[in-house]
Symmetry: C2
Subunit: 110 residues, 2 copies
């Protein structure tokens, strides 16, 4: 596989609390709508709330960390080669979850 890729990170704040389940579902949908191939997913649910979830992709990975006390989530999506479109996935996530601020940074990799 071509090792040139794109890495997109998102820092998003919400006006109102968003549940970990809603965040996870929105990430799942964003990944599938962007034609990425999920190999596996691993998740840690913290107590009483807060979550880390990572999807291993054929194209690289997608991760989300939630901080419900701060109404904040951090996301990164990294894909290699010509298959994935991490910006489309992040766009889809932002349209779905509607944060009040969404800071997006794009890195060229490889």
């Amino acid at each position: 596989m071509n090792n040139k890729g794109q890495h997109v990170v998102l820092d998003a704040y919400f006006q109102h609390p968003v549940t970990d389940l809603d965040v996870e579902r929105a990430c799942d949908q964003a990944i599938h709508q962007s034609n990425m191939t999920v190999i596996s997913q691993v998740k840690k649910q913290f107590s009483p709330k807060g979550m880390t979830a990572v999807w291993l992709l054929a194209e690289s990975h997608f991760s989300v960390h939630t901080f419900p006390e701060q109404n904040y989530i951090s996301v990164d999506c990294y894909t290699c080669g010509d298959e994935g479109n991490p910006m489309a996935a992040i766009d889809s996530l932002v349209r779905k979850l509607k944060p009040i601020t969404a800071n997006i940074q794009v890195l060229d990799r490889g």
Copy 2:
């Protein structure tokens, strides 16, 4: 947990092939030497070679993707709060694996 964090990404090229096992061991050591707490690890070994491995950390995550045909690895280490030191982990990895080029980018998160 404090949602302010640091995200360090590394693009490294080697003069000679490095095995997936050597990369994984070096990442493991770098994580432990930087006093991060591993919650779990997930890995995909591609055929005939090439690997994706992600460590979920109490402090956030560490990932590596190997591209043996290009003598290249891409790494990211993201930690939140005051606990982790992602730059120390990346430094440790570079000292251990001795790539011929190591491009490091540091992002403030949160």
